[in-house]
C-alpha cells in the first residue's frame, strides 16, 4: 500500500501511530493478525531518518537488531541474508561513516528488516538513492510483496508509489482517503494530449495546450483533432498562424492524478 501526501501531511506521524512509536493524543486501536509471532518481531519500520551507528560497520549495524530479536544461529543467517538482499557484501566490514548517503540508505533498510517481519513499513525509502540503488529497492519491495509480506510505503513522489504499491491512500491535513487499487485509480484517469506550437512572428516563445481525452490511441487523437468543434479553445491555438512543434500523448499516471487532487 502506498501512502501519498505532501510535506507535513502527516505520513510519518501516521506510521508512528501505527507502530506505537509516538505518543498519541486520541484515536482507536489496530489489530494485526500475525499468527504466533511476537509483536516485536512482526513489524519492521524503516524510518525516514537513517537509524545507524556511524562508528559501527555495516555488518554490525545490520546485526544489532538481529541480536536483540533472534537466537544466535538465526541472527547469523538473517544478517547474511539482509546483506545479500541489498548487495552490501563488498562494504560489509566498512564503518558506516565512510559510506555515501545512498549506501547508508540501503544499510538502513537492511538493518530495519533483518528479522524478516511480515509487516514492513517504509518512510520515504528512496530518498538519496541513485538510479541503480533505487531499482534495487524497487526489486526488493516487490520481492517482499511476492513472499507475502504486507508493505506500507510513504512517498512525496507519485512515481515511487506507482512502482512500489498496488493500493493507494492519499493523506492530506492528517486525514486519509482510501482510493483503492492503484490500477483502478490510474484507469479512471484520462489520457492527456499536449500540443506545442511556436509563434510564427517571433519563434522565441512557445505555448502549450492541454486537452483531456477520455480514451484513444494516437491515430484516434489525430482524427479527433480534425473533428474538434471550433469552440474547443482551438481559436486560441491558431494553428494556421503558428508552427506546430510537437504533439505529446501522456498516459494516465499518479503524478497527473496527484496534480489534479492538489489543484482540487
Amino acid at each position: 500500500m502506498g501512502l501519498l501526501g505532501a510535506n507535513g501531511a502527516g505520513k510519518t506521524t501516521l506510521l508512528g501511530a501505527l507502530t506505537r512509536t509516538v505518543r498519541g493524543t486520541a484515536g482507536g486501536s489496530l489489530r494485526l493478525d500475525v499468527g504466533a509471532l511476537p509483536a516485536r518481531r512482526a513489524i519492521g519500520y524503516a524510518t525516514q531518518a537513517l537509524a545507524l551507528y556511524p562508528m559501527l560497520t555495516v555488518e554490525e549495524n545490520v546485526g544489532h537488531l538481529a541480536s536483540l530479536l533472534l537466537r544466535r544461529a538465526e541472527a547469523k543467517a538473517a544478517i547474511c541474508r539482509a546483506i545479500e538482499e541489498f548487495s552490501l557484501g563488498s562494504i560489509a566490514r566498512t564503518r558506516v561513516h565512510h559510506l555515501s548517503g545512498g549506501q547508508r540508505r540501503l544499510v538502513h533498510l537492511a538493518a530495519s528488516f533483518v528479522h524478516g517481519p511480515p509487516i514492513r513499513l517504509l518512510d520515504e525509502p528512496t530518498v538519496a538513492l541513485d538510479f541503480e540503488a533505487r531499482q534495487l529497492v524497487v526489486k526488493r519491495v516487490r520481492g517482499w510483496r511476492e513472499e507475502g509480506a504486507a508493505v506500507l510505503i510513504t512517498a512525496h513522489y507519485p512515481e515511487d508509489i506507482e512502482e512500489l504499491s498496488t493500493e493507494l491512500v492519499l493523506l492530506r491535513d492528517g486525514t486519509t482517503r482510501d482510493l483503492g487499487e492503484l490500477g483502478a485509480v490510474l484507469s479512471s484517469q484520462s489520457r492527456t494530449l499536449l500540443l506545442q506550437a511556436e509563434r510564427s512572428a517571433s519563434r522565441s516563445e512557445s505555448t502549450s495546450w492541454e486537452l483531456m481525452l477520455a480514451t484513444g490511441r494516437l491515430d484516434e487523437v489525430r482524427a479527433k483533432l480534425g473533428e474538434l468543434p471550433s469552440d474547443v479553445r482551438l481559436s486560441e491555438l491558431r494553428l494556421s498562424g503558428n508552427r506546430l512543434r510537437d504533439i505529446l500523448l501522456r498516459d494516465p499516471s499518479l503524478s497527473s492524478f496527484a496534480e489534479g487532487t492538489e489543484q482540487r
Binding site: T19, V22, A51, Y53, E60, H64, L65, R71
Partner: protein, 269 residues
C-alpha cells in the same frame, strides 16, 4: 515431571535467554562505540592518572600523612569513576543522536535489560579503573591493604552501579545531551567535594560533611578507607555498600518510572 511444569520451565528458560540476549546485544554495541570513540577512555583512565601525578596529595591536604599519595590516588579514582554518570547518560542519548530510538520504541525490550545492556560497558570501564588505581597505589604508592581486595572490588562495583543508575535517571528527566552533561559534571564535582574524594572529609566544614552523608562517594571512601588504612572489617564495608545500593535502587526505580521508550529528546532531528 508433569508436562505443565516442563512447559513452565521451558518458557522461563526462554525468557531468561531472551533477557540475556537483549543485555548482550545492547552491551556489545555500546562497547564497540565506546572503544572506537576513545574519549571515554581518556576521561576514565588518563585524566585521573594525570591529576594524581600532578596534584598528588597536595590537594587532599595529606602531604605529611603516610601513604598520602596512594590515598589521593584513590580519591581521584573515586571522583573520576563517576564519569560513568555521563557515559551512561550518553549511552541512552546515543539512540537520539543516531535516530535509532525509534527502533527501541518499536521492539520495546524489557526496561531492565535495555538499561543494563546500555550501561554495562561504561560500568565495566569505571570498575576496572577503580581496581587498577587501587592496585597501582597499593603496589607502588605505599597504600596499605589491611582488608582484602574483595572489599575494594565490592565497594567499587557498588559505586559504579550507583553512577550508572544516576546516569539513567538524568537521561530520563532531561531533554538534551547538553543538560545531561552539565548536570552530570555538577554531580561529579559536588559529590566528590562533599563526599571527601578531593579533600579528606575531616578537613571539610561541618555543613559539607553533613551533605556528604547523602553521597555514594562518602560511603565508598568510608569502605575503601576501611579496606586500606582501617582494620578491614566486613561490617563497615557491607554497611557502606548497602547505603550505596539503596541510593542505586532509588535512582533506578525513579528512572524506570520516568522513562518511556516513546520519549522524544531535543537531540532528535
Amino acid at each position: 515431571m508433569s508436562p505443565l511444569r516442563e512447559s513452565n520451565q521451558s518458557s522461563a528458560t526462554q525468557a531468561v535467554a531472551g533477557f540475556v540476549n537483549v543485555v548482550a546485544g545492547y552491551a556489545l554495541t555500546e562497547w564497540r562505540v565506546l572503544w572506537r570513540e576513545r574519549t571515554a577512555m581518556v576521561f576514565i583512565f588518563i585524566l585521573p592518572a594525570a591529576l594524581s601525578a600532578i596534584l598528588g596529595p597536595g590537594v587532599s591536604g595529606l602531604e605529611a600523612a603516610p601513604g598520602a599519595m596512594g590515598r589521593a590516588t584513590i580519591g581521584f579514582a573515586v571522583m573520576f569513576s563517576y564519569m560513568v554518570v555521563t557515559y551512561s547518560g550518553h549511552a541512552f542519548y546515543r539512540d537520539f543522536w543516531y535516530h535509532t530510538n525509534g527502533r527501541q520504541a518499536l521492539i520495546r525490550p524489557s526496561k531492565l535489560a535495555f538499561a543494563m545492556g546500555k550501561v554495562l560497558p561504561a560500568c565495566a570501564m569505571s570498575f576496572v579503573q577503580l581496581l587498577l588505581f587501587t592496585g597501582f597505589a597499593a603496589a607502588f604508592l605505599g597504600l596499605p591493604l589491611q582488608g582484602s581486595f574483595a572489599q575494594v572490588a565490592l565497594t567499587g562495583a557498588a559505586l559504579v552501579v550507583s553512577g550508572s543508575a544516576l546516569g539513567f535517571l538524568l537521561f530520563a528527566v532531561t531533554r538534551s545531551t547538553a543538560t545531561l552533561s552539565n548536570l552530570s559534571y555538577l554531580v561529579l564535582v559536588t559529590f566528590s567535594a562533599v563526599g571527601g574524594a578531593i579533600v579528606v572529609t575531616d578537613a571539610l566544614p561541618a555543613w559539607s560533611r553533613t551533605l556528604g552523608y547523602a553521597t555514594p562517594h562518602y560511603w565508598a571512601l568510608r569502605a575503601l578507607n576501611e579496606a586500606t588504612f582501617g582494620q578491614g572489617r566486613w561490617s563497615v564495608v557491607l554497611q557502606s555498600t548497602a547505603v550505596i545500593l539503596t541510593f542505586t535502587a532509588v535512582c533506578a526505580a525513579a528512572a524506570s518510572l520516568a522513562f518511556d521508550f516513546r520519549d522524544l529528546k531535543h537531540d532528535t532531528t
